[in-house]
């Protein structure tokens, strides 16, 4: 991973409350796992920035190295890596995700 990609990712995840690295866009997700995460955030009414990794092969590889996490989607909240699709789904189902977003002042309680 080049430093530039690393810096670019760091910059993106720290300058947005929620960042979703995904395949496709929220309107046209190109993978079922990415689509699931989009639906979760839409359901919660949480605003997020999204990055389509299919647009940039350096970011696509870079995001995997950044978190030592081999798959996309990946979610960041306030700069911290929270997980991929499975963890998002689990946290959504248990209510932890909403609690976290409220605690971080991203969602109103």
């Amino acid at each position: 991973m080049t430093d530039t990609v690393n810096d670019q990712i760091k910059n993106t995840v720290t300058s947005n409350d929620i960042v979703l690295y995904m395949k496709g866009t929220p309107t046209f997700p190109q993978c079922g796992f990415s689509s699931t995460v989009v639906q979760i955030f839409d359901y919660l009414g949480a605003k997020y920035a999204s990055v389509n990794v299919l647009d940039d092969s350096e970011v696509r590889q870079g995001i995997k190295d950044f978190n030592n996490w081999p798959t996309v989607p990946q979610v960041f909240v306030k700069g911290e890596f929270i997980g991929g699709c499975d963890i998002m789904r689990e946290m959504f189902e248990t209510g932890e995700l909403k609690t976290l977003l409220v605690e971080k002042n991203i969602l109103a309680s």
């Binding site: 796992f33 995997k64 030592n68 996490w69 081999p70 798959t71 890596f81 929270i82 997980g83 991929g84 699709c85 499975d86 963890i87 689990e90």
Partner: protein, 76 residues
Amino acid sequence: MAMHADDIIAMIKEALPDAIVELVDLAGDGDHYKAIITSPSFAGLSRIAQHQKVYGALKGKMGGELHALALETKAE
């Protein structure tokens, strides 16, 4: 591109010998699986760390040869 279910289970068990692994072929195409893994070695770890342990066991096949492996991990 696809991986056999037996190979996936064997790789996870090699790295986590105490694990109980249940594998479901979601689409019947040998490329979309869900694994439910119970291992005492997950105790005290965050979900992220638990999943990273499983990805580590698969030695880079995840995201490559293996496109989709939904994970559910628990300590007991």
